[in-house]
Amino acid sequence: MLAIEAEGLRKVFTGRGGGPKGRRRTRSVEAVRGISFSVEAGERLAYIGPNGAGKSTSIKILTGILHPTSGTATVLGLTPWKQRRDLARRIGVLFGQRSQLWFELTPRQSFDLLGRIYGLDRSATRLRVDELGGLLDSRDLFDAPLRNLSLGQRMRCELAASVLHRPEVLFLDEPTIGMDLVAKQRFREMVVRLNAEQGTTVFLTSHDVSDIEQVARRVIVINGGTLIYDDRVSRMRRSVLSTKLLDVRFEQPPAPGSLDFDGMQVIKETGLGYKLVVDTERRSIREVLDTLLDTQRVADISVLDPPLEDVIARIYERRPS
């Protein structure tokens, strides 16, 4: 079953200004230029792109905030911008820098009200809050005033608020902005758990590459308003970059020049530890490993995929397909 379906989405912003002061002429910006994709129920999708790529615009269209200029989209069978309130009952939305919770109150007090807004009765809300407290490891957070919590803790509470009503789809727009590394990781874990244990479809926009690695199984890359990549994360690395990294520790220093061969390059050298880059189009990993193990005294070796940043950067460089 398809949770989200978008066909030829286009969004043109028109208006005055945006230029240097005094030059108030009408301009138009095409933020989204004909994007089509579909998302199955229960999927975890990362929707990534650089700033200004059209990510926020896309998510605003899918959540019913904006009307597209042309094209169609359905979320859970509903047209978001036409059936906004009906859809609002079945989706959860978390914007990175906007809060649904009341600052001076405890999250639990905010949940009480939000539960009512979603039509849950008191006991149902209470049960659900309890459940979420366990699921998101946040029970101890719910009874402290929101202002006393750190950003990471606050966002976990916002996450709970956004799924209070058991939405079928959860939209997250740059949710980890401003969080420290540990907080980000915890948050991502929670999102994955929600998907795994409750079957919530996850649609996450981000420009943080680690969000992809840790949360998503599928990634859509957009740039300049067009979709330029759509595949499983696991395949992305392999298909886009034909390089591999070798992390090698030698038992004794390799003889000078002995690591010079075609298709391989030393990029880092720390004592006996070497980082090597292999261009697998020129020389297969098998060959390189064989050669190394035959000609050198190797203490330890690991074969790594290239960092995701490089992969993404390479994808951005692509012409839209």
Partner: protein
């Protein structure tokens, strides 16, 4: 899940906002106390003024204290209970409208009710107190005072909502709202009849300050069905215009005015 009744949701939201204002106890009393003192200073000013000068254009100490009681009540409601009203433009500029649009609620009502300004609750307390102590309260006058204050609040809130809706159309950070609201408040803080023809005209139309204090005072002191009709009419018209303005602004916002592209 059944669709909850909007009125009950709004009531619950309002209660939550009030609970929030009450949550930080120390801050609450400090802010309310400061506002009460602030209002007292204004009362002292007016008492001194009229003590020295006597009546002006038919206004004396009694009238101006009634005026101030109404003003405090109106600001208590319009800026205290509906704290987001005058910040509407700013909220939109900050993107807070998006978060509201993803909830199954009426965006304007929810935004307005969602936040209470603690300090202004001081006004909400001061107004009725001043009325009781200085404005010769009788059941009839009290009823008229309440009616007048509610209508005045409707006009006030509608005015600032209209200005705030401008932000959805032309962009900016809500400065239009700020200036308009300040002008409204200043003009409404002085006895209506000292103003000359042109200013009075403005106060009955573009900047409806007359309906905030002037006409309500008239209603209480010199009741006539015509005055009541005019006030109720002004309130009703303002509310309708405000709703229309917001809806138009929202339509523009959702169709994608250039500046909204974050």
């Amino acid at each position: 899940m059944r669709e909850p009744r909007p009125s009950r949701t709004l009531l619950a939201t309002s209660r939550t906002a009030l609970v929030e204002a009450w949550a930080n106890r120390r801050s609450f009393w400090v802010q309310v106390g400061a506002m009460l003192l602030n209002d007292s200073v204004w009362v002292i000013f007016w008492v001194l003024f009229f003590h020295r000068i006597g009546r002006i254009h038919g206004w004396g100490t009694d009238d101006v204290l009634l005026m101030f009681a109404i003003l405090a009540t109106v600001t208590g409601i319009s800026m205290g209970l509906l704290a987001n009203a005058r910040r509407l433009g700013w909220l939109v500029a900050e993107g807070q409208l998006d978060a509201v649009l993803t909830l199954p609620v009426d965006p304007l009502a929810y935004l307005l009710i969602r936040k209470v300004d603690t300090a202004l609750l001081g006004d909400l307390a001061f107004g009725p107190l001043l009325f009781v102590f200085a404005a010769h309260p009788t059941p009839e006058r009290a009823l008229l005072y309440l009616t007048g204050s509610l209508c005045g609040s409707a006009v006030f809130v509608s005015f600032v909502v209209m200005l705030g809706s401008l932000t959805m159309v032309v962009g900016g950070r809500g400065e239009q709202g700020d200036l308009g609201f300040q002008a409204l408040l200043i003009l409404a803080s002085y006895p209506l009849d000292v103003f000359g023809g042109l200013t009075k005209l403005v106060m009955f139309s573009v900047i409806p300050a007359a309906f905030i204090t002037g006409v309500p005072v008239h209603l209480v002191d010199r009741f006539s069905p015509a005055t009541l009709g005019a006030l109720l009419g002004a309130a009703a018209v303002s509310v309708v215009l405000a709703r229309m303005a917001f809806r138009a602004g929202l339509r523009r916002y959702r169709s994608g005015a250039l500046w909204t592209r974050a």
